[in-house]
Symmetry: C2
Subunit: 455 residues, 2 copies
């Protein structure tokens, strides 16, 4: 490459998951970022091109070295965030779901009619997620056009790759009077306007921030709304996000209303596309899995949230084995932790509960479901490249042509529970320890599309 095309090169230890279940640790590797923020080259000592790149970068004064206790990881991808619920994080988790929604969530979301309130919350949220290493986030905003635009603008301004949806919800039978789209027509019109405005934001020519067609979930929408959003999705090629078979109630509601599953119903409305992400999917069956795979649609697995509000654990092992595209989601605020690393460990933990079962009164053979566990490798995949695949974005791996979205994890941060013993820990151990005990203080630097946004 030419010197003026090189933005910078980094030398250090890279850890990423190039394929499901595989972790690659590249020591003393050189990674070149081009002037467009893409990865131009990844090369290892002794390989062709290493010495040339080293020389080129050094001569240009663009060679940076990570310290021996720092690790470069792909940026974390959060495929499911309810941005307006941010102040509710960790609150009222002792309440039943219905009360949680009616007494806390909907009244809170309604407050985003006030764009100043939105500004205050969304700034705090985006800053916090970036601090935790989330380089890409797929957000639900609220029904409000102005506040939803604020979220898009704030992400762009803070440099976070974001997919943002103005929420569509117009079903008077399921949504409170004080918080729903006035009509399907209004909701569709606002969605269309939101898409235009996001794509037209000054500074967004590179499409760092993308609009998302966002039917909240089937119960919250009328047929007219679902039909209209499906047509919009088909015509625009825009991303889509919604909830799918999250819990017993929702799953049963849709079966009752349409005589078929969420997955088949959404597909019938044209809402399953390669740009769609379905949150949760705990109760999808084998046929649903085939449809989702065939549609090239992604899944947002939200392990912490699921243990509170989904009545079951998503069968991640099965979904990955069948070739589905699965990323991780915090599901703020049903998931009470803003970190994707935390959800990495929760994905492993939840899968262990699924495999072994939980009820000690049952004999072992009736308690669990053999062969359903995942380990830190699959969890790390979902947190990075799997999330990228689910979103249809080239992020999450250190591969030429992918965007340089990355974090530096410093295992030597002061006042941290992440403790590496040099004489006892190998590379796999270090990654596993990062997943279990790194926190935002260990995340020293964050880049999105080659731009450093933390550190």
């Amino acid at each position: 490459m030419k010197q003026d095309e090189l933005k910078f090169a980094l030398r250090g230890t890279l850890i990423h998951a190039p394929a499901i279940g595989a972790v690659e640790i590249l020591e003393n590797a050189l990674l070149a970022v081009d002037d467009g923020g893409q990865i131009a080259e990844v090369t290892n000592p002794g390989e062709q091109g290493y010495a040339e790149l080293e020389q080129l970068a050094a001569q240009a004064g663009k060679l940076e070295e990570l310290s021996p206790k720092q690790y470069l990881l792909p940026g974390l991808v959060d495929t499911h965030v309810h941005a307006p619920q941010w102040p509710q994080l960790g609150k009222a988790l002792d309440r039943p779901l219905d009360e949680w929604l009616q007494k806390y969530t909907f009244p809170l979301e309604a407050r985003y009619a006030d764009a100043e309130f939105a500004e205050r919350v969304y700034r705090n949220l985006a800053r916090t997620l970036i601090a935790n290493g989330t380089t890409t986030a797929m957000y639900y905003a609220t029904i409000h056009l102005e506040a939803s635009m604020r979220l898009a603008e704030i992400c762009l301004e803070q440099g976070q790759r974001a997919l943002v949806g103005k929420v569509a919800m117009d079903n008077p039978e399921q949504c409170p009077d004080y918080y729903r789209d006035a009509s399907a027509g209004q909701g569709l019109e606002d969605t269309g306007r939101f898409m235009e405005q996001v794509l037209g934001m000054p500074g967004n020519a590179g499409r760092l921030v993308l609009p998302v067609i966002t039917p909240r979930f089937i119960p919250a929408c009328t047929d007219e709304m679902l039909q209209g959003l499906g047509e919009l999705a088909q015509h625009s090629g825009c991303h889509v996000q919604t909830h799918c078979s999250e819990g017993d109630w929702e799953h049963a509601y849709v079966l009752e209303r349409y005589g078929k599953t969420d997955t088949l119903s959404l597909d019938g409305f044209g809402l399953l596309t390669p740009q769609t992400v379905l949150a949760h999917c705990d109760f999808i069956d084998d046929a649903d899995m085939r449809v989702i795979k065939g549609a090239d649609t992604g899944i947002a697995h939200c392990p912490l949230s699921n243990l509170y509000f989904a009545n079951a654990v998503f069968p991640a092992r099965k979904a990955l084995d069948r070739g589905l595209q699965v990323g991780l989601g915090t599901d703020i605020a049903a998931g009470a932790n803003p970190g994707i690393l935390h959800n990495c460990q929760m994905a492993v933990t939840a899968s262990r509960a699924l495999e072994d079962g939980v009820n000690p009164d049952l004999p072992a053979e009736e308690r669990g479901t053999a062969g359903t566990r995942i380990d830190f490798r699959e969890a790390f995949w979902m947190a990075t490249a799997g999330g990228g695949e689910a979103l249809g974005l080239k992020v999450g791996k250190f591969v030429r042509g992918y965007a340089f979205d990355a974090i530096v994890v410093d295992t030597d941060a002061p006042d941290s529970n992440l403790i590496i013993w040099e004489d006892m820990d190998n590379g796999d151990d270090i990654l596993q320890k990062i997943i279990y005990n790194a926190d935002r203080r260990n995340i020293k630097r964050v880049w999105v599309q080659g731009e450093q946004i933390k550190g």
Copy 2:
């Protein structure tokens, strides 16, 4: 009280759990600590004695005010820690339990024959637990007398209330050749010597550090060892710790060896006393619960560890409802997080999995176990006063006559995921948010027996 008996008084917002399921939030309360490190008085504005205490403390220059964003909580109690496994934290969790033990844990524990190695690890561990707010910890050390003494000395030196056991394990059929007591006689003799040495440590007249009789678990011990340790427990009144019905394998092994459960077997050896703490107890039945309650014995509930290695979730709700004394344990390193606050949220999370079940292929009514959830109140109880009860120590509440073991949680720490919205969060919300998102940086100060050991 007299001025010279007052060590200091603190004014601020106190949060504690005076009873199971109850959270008390005392605003602008005054708490007096006497020169022995006990709580001498807790009084609220307008109550008798408030003005007098305020005046007394102020005149003596011993009145300290917490900031409005700081909360005084009881120190956290960790009832189950394997100290030598500290370097293994977060490692090899993808391996089967047998491999985890044989390839990682036992070889690591064997290294503590080297007291210098022990010193290095144990200093780091005690410092880390204190930084995370653990004011009392019940530790398993290893079979080695010298290294176990180092752990006791380090805790005393760092000011942490500790209960430390030299591990007894002599069964050649279950313990590796390179890591077991040479004989039951040797193990018993070393245990006796260890007890004496701990109680005789210079500076330990106040018994901040206590020795614990520690049969690793039934499978690791011969009958002679269990019998001998039971007699020692009965004669000495010393604390006892062991594992009880942790997983399917252990539970079945004991049933096979003795024709009765762990609980009944341990009781038969005289090992169930009011000073005993049984770790895990996932598979105890109703009769076991009655025996444990009758013996006034405590339970260490280790929710994170259980989801990896115990094959089931401990029925905390049922145990608490039946009046059992239950504390929380990290179970380092089978539990991959050193924080009791983290285990607080995991106790809630695990109970939700137990209540709702985990397998989406089952109908809801067969999937879960109704009425088994706990919430943050019970979890906070177990993390503080419940742990104190289980250990038979007067710690974990802000009550006159209890030791002043406490932490200050600062909700305004920089670079933290704990975010309080003053206009939206009440006292319960704040405690719940602390449990879900506070970390060691929020724990600004730590006291044990009135002595400040952090901050």
